[in-house]
């Protein structure tokens, strides 16, 4: 049973700002579907006693002391900016809104 169709791939591509051609969408839908099916198979094997895993490393609480470190010089910060003004990144007019 197919769970990932072309519409879904097109929607996700739009959300991720990835410009896909129609043939790429069709191809990816097929490839992603195989991956999703494979994961579904693993899920069938895992019982209730197996917790969902987000990290393969059995580590928790990696914390840092609240001590100020070195910051980047502002000219270095802006060196890679396509455009800058008054020490700030210059970006095209923002039409949407803050989240």
């Amino acid at each position: 049973m197919s769970t990932i169709n072309s519409d879904e791939v097109a929607r996700l591509a739009a959300l991720a700002r990835i410009d896909l051609a129609p043939d790429e969408i069709t191809r990816l839908a097929g490839e992603l579907d195989v991956i999703v099916q494979a994961v579904a198979t693993v899920s069938e094997v895992a019982g209730d006693d197996v917790p969902a895993t987000s990290h393969p490393i059995p580590l928790t609480n990696v914390l840092r002391d609240d001590v100020v470190g070195r910051t980047l010089p502002v000219d270095e910060v802006l060196a890679q900016a396509p455009a800058a003004e008054e020490g700030m990144f210059l970006v095209p007019q923002i039409l949407g809104e803050e989240q």
Partner: protein, 500 residues
């Protein structure tokens, strides 16, 4: 801006509809560094100087969680009577906006650090109202955009935005209520007092300066109406970033009036974000909830889960200060203030300042008299907060001690205070420099009294014959001659002695 909304009178609207609130409050934590990197989390720096590769989302930069920020989040969670998660994770909230350099905000999604709490708030008349807390989670702030219009820009006709990432990555805790029901007519007040109470809690916990005007505390207010408490919740709007207590109250009133008009007209409320406008007290339509709100959350692979040890939580719990509402009640009793007096003190934000003044030796009554009287008037005239006046609680304590020792009287004390506010030093300095001490030596006083009586022999005769009516006039004249530096009681005694 839509100021042409149809509106129903608030009282009329609330008589026919049941308002349900939901409030999201973001607080910027007062840590030294950011949430996931060691750039300073300070305010007012030169743009783009408090940044590291992590703040900028440069490729390969890896975040590390600030332990103090986690502790502060736990403090907030515990103060809000929440459960603290045994284990929780960070998640990526994906969206594109220039102030989010990584193209995702690191937040928490299905596993907040704190959940299932409540907060009892004390309304203006002393009634206690319980707000249920759904969750409090950790996340990071975004950078700051400055929009440059065509007229002011360097490039003529161009409109663009400038981005400063100093704020990007500052630790935030977002506190989300459950739907707040049963508010009756008091929705606006409940919303305001809830956020005020949170602000007080953040300060007392020492987790944030919680200054509204700096955006340390920001509230998003959700509101929906329904025809009765027995039917399901109506469609809500979310008024974003309402940043003063007064605005919170006004925005709720406005949305009640606006939504009631929409529903009265047979329409349906659009689920959208709205913006509040300080100048008109109105809200206007923002972004309609849409497909773009699919943030594709997924667990942050660069950060391992958090599992705060239970001993640590208990240690934090034991160190929590008294809750502001309980503390206020205790202080009111200790200070012997009437309910209304205490409420005025609280509303003036003067609890701490009065407490410090009392600690500096003033009586509760005297501390209140100074801060809620003379100083409140001065602050109002100057348009500043009480704590911004150039006088400390310790100085008010010293001033009051001078009054109580009899070295100055109330009238002189006001002149001394004037000197302190003008930057002339401590009360003691002002008394010395201006020569304001009460004249306690009888010699000079008697000279002035004799002079005054000699100038008005008729009055002297009347008093001598037992008619004490005019004595006030003589005391007044002596006080005037000594520029208020005499003790009026002593002057009276001396006049009586002189005239037998």
């Amino acid at each position: 801006m839509s100021v042409t909304d149809e509106l129903v009178d608030y009282d009329d609207a609330i008589a026919r509809y049941d308002a349900v609130l939901g409030i999201e409050v973001h607080v910027e934590l007062g840590t030294a560094t950011k949430m996931f990197d060691d750039a300073p989390a300070s305010f007012g720096e030169v743009p783009n100087t408090s940044v590291t590769p992590v703040s900028l989302g440069l490729p390969g930069a890896l975040p590390v969680v600030n332990g103090t920020a986690v502790e502060y989040a736990i403090r907030i969670g515990l103060a809000l009577n929440c459960q603290i998660a045994e284990t929780c994770r960070f998640a990526r909230k994906n969206y594109f906006y220039p102030d989010v350099p990584k193209n995702f905000q690191t937040s928490q999604y299905d596993e907040p650090i704190a959940f299932d709490g409540h907060l009892d708030i004390e309304l203006d008349d002393g009634e206690v109202f319980r707000v249920e807390i759904e969750r409090a989670h950790m996340e990071e702030d975004a950078g700051k955009n400055t929009h440059v219009g065509g007229a002011t820009g360097r490039i003529h006709g161009a409109e663009y935005s400038l981005v400063d990432y100093n704020r990007a990555g500052i630790p935030l805790v977002e506190i989300v209520t459950r739907p707040i029901t049963g508010v009756g007519t008091r929705g606006p007040e409940i919303a305001r007092v809830y956020v005020q109470t949170l602000r007080d809690i953040f300060r007392s916990l020492g987790v944030s300066e919680a200054r509204m005007e700096r955006g340390n505390v920001r509230a998003d207010v959700n509101l929906s109406l329904r025809t009765s408490p027995d039917v399901p919740l109506g469609t809500r709007t979310e008024t974003k970033n309402v940043n003063s207590f007064r605005s919170i109250e006004r925005s709720v009133r406005y949305e009640v009036s606006r939504q009631a008009a929409v529903l009265d007209g047979g329409g349906s409320v659009l689920q959208e974000t709205r913006h509040f406008h300080e100048d008109t007290g109105s809200t206007s339509s923002g972004r309609v909830k849409s497909d773009a709100d699919d943030y594709r959350y997924f667990p942050e692979p660069d950060l391992v889960p958090l599992a705060p040890p239970r001993e640590w939580i208990e240690e934090i719990r034991a160190s929590l200060p008294e809750a502001p509402v309980a503390r206020r009640r205790r202080l009111r009793e200790e200070w012997g203030y009437a309910d209304a007096e205490m409420r005025d003190v609280v509303n003036a934000g003067a609890v701490e300042i009065i407490e410090t003044t009392i600690a500096a030796g003033a009586s509760p009554a005297a501390a209140r008299k100074w801060w809620m009287g003379e100083l409140a008037r001065t602050a109002k005239t100057e348009g500043v907060a009480l704590e911004e006046l150039p006088v400390t609680p310790e100085q008010i304590g010293q001033l009051q001690a001078l009054v109580e020792s009899g070295r100055i009287n109330d009238k002189l004390a006001r002149q001394v205070l004037e000197g302190v506010l003008a930057g002339e030093g401590s009360p003691e300095d002002v008394v010395t420099a201006r020569g304001l001490e009460v004249v306690s030596d009888d010699g000079p006083l008697l000279a002035v009294i004799d002079e005054t009586l000699a100038a008005q022999p008729d009055i002297a005769d009347k008093i001598r014959s037992g008619n004490l009516g005019p004595i006030g006039a003589v005391i007044g004249a002596v006080m005037k001659a000594t520029r208020g530096q005499a003790d009026a009681g002593r002057v009276r005694e001396l006049i009586m002695e002189r005239l037998g």
